[in-house]
């Protein structure tokens, strides 16, 4: 019986393999086609200041009637704006992230915009017209993209605009909802909550033309389309 006794491990592995295969067949957990769409052109004003690159992006084309409708629907929304300097191939991580929490109050008919950026105090404004909100979003204050020296010689600036990104807080709330459906606690729900991942970001991307680092060395300003 030695042989037979040696089999369960192999067996379990085979079962697991079968299961994974079946899961993959039955459940096309497709990683969303990330970055399959070419980025739209971005207008950006760059400026060297004290050896750092400051970028002022123009997101006019992004802040359109569709966004107005979404932000004016009375729900609390967040527009996450990420600006990054990338090397010509499009590689390069990080970037500066700025969140605009926008909420339209249907009673007072005013927008409250809170701007949050890591490392800076949040600022909040209540305005009564979309035009102001649009201005805040389309021409945000310059982004500090870090020391010029750290940039490649030729680079592009990319802006990513994401509406209602799934934040850790929201993910936590969703997990809570899964684990405690209808008040009680569910074991399977807890398991599902445990396995729940953040969805991949779904952002609109805008990218500038190629810029040259040395252009900004002397505190020069440059505009790229």
């Amino acid at each position: 019986m030695r042989r037979a006794a040696a089999n369960p491990a192999a067996l379990t592995h085979a079962a697991a393999a079968c299961l994974v295969a079946a899961t993959l067949v039955a459940n096309p957990i497709s990683a969303p086609a990330l970055a399959s769409v070419d980025p739209a052109p971005l207008r950006v004003d760059c400026r060297g200041e004290a050896g750092r690159l400051l970028a002022t992006v123009d997101l006019g084309p992004a802040v359109d009637a569709g966004l107005e409708r979404k932000l004016g629907n009375g729900l609390a929304s967040t527009v996450r704006l990420t600006v990054a300097a990338l090397d010509p191939s499009g590689a390069g991580a990080g970037g500066v992230e700025r969140d605009f929490d926008v909420r339209f109050d249907v009673w007072t008919e005013t927008f409250t915009v809170t701007i949050r950026e890591p490392g800076a105090a949040a600022s909040s404004r209540t305005v009564s017209d979309w035009a102001t909100v649009r201005r805040l979003l389309a021409t945000p204050a310059p982004f500090d993209l870090g020391p010029l020296a750290a940039l490649p010689e030729r680079f592009t600036v990319e802006a990513r605009l994401e509406l209602d990104p799934v934040t850790g807080l929201q993910l936590g709330r969703t997990r809570e909802r899964l684990a405690h459906p209808a008040g009680g606690r569910s074991l399977l729900g807890s398991l599902a909550a445990f396995l729940l991942r953040a969805p991949p970001p779904d952002a609109e991307r805008y990218r500038s033309t190629l810029l040259t680092r040395s252009d900004f060395a002397g505190g020069a300003a440059s505009r790229a389309r």
Binding site: N7, T23, G74, F104, W107
Partner: protein, 511 residues
Amino acid sequence: MITPLATPAATPPAPAPPGPPPWRSRFSMKLVGALLLAATLPLVPALLLANWLADSNAGVWLAPRVAERLSEVPGTYQELFRARKALYAERALSLARGLPHRAAAQAAYLERAVATVPRLQHAELLAADGRLLAEAERPRGRDEEGGWRPVPAEVSLPGGGTLRATFSIEAALFAELDETRELAETARDMDRARGELRRSILLVFAAMVSVAALLAVLIGHLMARRTVARLTRLAEAHRRVAAGDLSARVEPAGGGDEVAALSEGFNVMVEEVRQGRDRIVYLEKISGWQDVARRLAHEIKNPLTPIQLAFQQLEARWRATPGGDQTFGRLLGEAGEIVRQEVATLQRLVEEFSAFARLPDVAPAPADLGDFVTEFVRTSPQLGDRAEVTVTLAADRIPVALDAALMRRVLVNLTENAVQAAGPARAHLHLGVARARERAVLTVSDEGPGVEPALRPRVFDPYFTTKGDGTGLGLAIVKKIVLQHGGEVELGARPGGGACFTISLPLAGGP
């Protein structure tokens, strides 16, 4: 062929070949493979179903349309609020229009207004310079239950001054709005994470199913292991039998399934093979001894006649010469007696030996065992003289094929032994005929001393005897005849003392 004499029943089993035989691993692999297939195959439709369920659930609860419609609800409230605000502005305006010019009447007008205009909570009249001219407040009453929010409405009066009216709107509307908003936000979040939710729910399902499958495989494996173990034991016994060990048996444990039946069949088969082989070995042994008996009889018989003749001549010569030595004559007479006696004994021995050697082959004929035994007792009057004989017959007929003459010899030898065992006392003999397990059974038992168990296996050996004048051939002949009938003979003990010989013969033809 005398060689088999020395060796009793079995040749020693050949050593088993080492290591597991190749079939064993292949068999358990096949079994486990089948189990694996059986356990995993249902998972595919189950997973498809789970996928569909997850999809349809997500479709109902997490449809983008749900989130979309919900997000439009605050806009509806906005419309409602606007309508309310317009309505209140309208009421404030008409209130201003009806305002009396006389300052004295204005306070009373406002008092009346707060009492009659619906939802008007408070009204105040301000002069152009901001001075309060008149004011009225609706008494707190039934309208206020459930909570209210103030809605101010201002009208500038033509002659300068302001009418400031405060209406109320249900706070519940705002609570509803907040709740709806939260719900809409939740739906939106869920909608964003929909793909991930589906994935995690499916993973949970997959995990559950894997646990179930694993359990199934584990249990199946344990069960298979038992069956494989039993088959292994069976195969092991097969190998031992193939190697010549006919004592190999398998425990047919396992509750009446095919493997148990197989084991049982195997045991029966091996037992039959063993009996067949024992029979052949015994018959070979006997035929060897018959050879010896024939030669011995021949060698002894030949000199007996010359001895007798020589002695007769000697006596004749003595009688022909009268007046001889009387002492010698007496001596010769005694010697002659001894020689005649011994020669007679030797002649009897020779007769028995050659009878044993010439034992004829069995020529069976159909008969009823009960009839045969009754007939034997009836035609053996000398038996009745020396023993009390009881015969127990079966209710129905027991057809057998037997050689009546040889079978009679069997009964003679057995009853003879019983009578001898009883000594001088009268023997008590029991003859029984029965049918047991598809065999005809004949028992011969007595109430004598019996045979002690240690000696029992040897009593059928030729020349085994405990009697001074015995040849030890009686039971050997019995066994040979019984075996040639296709039967077996066994010696046991009679309950209550005595020997019990059991002869079982195959039944002949139909009932």
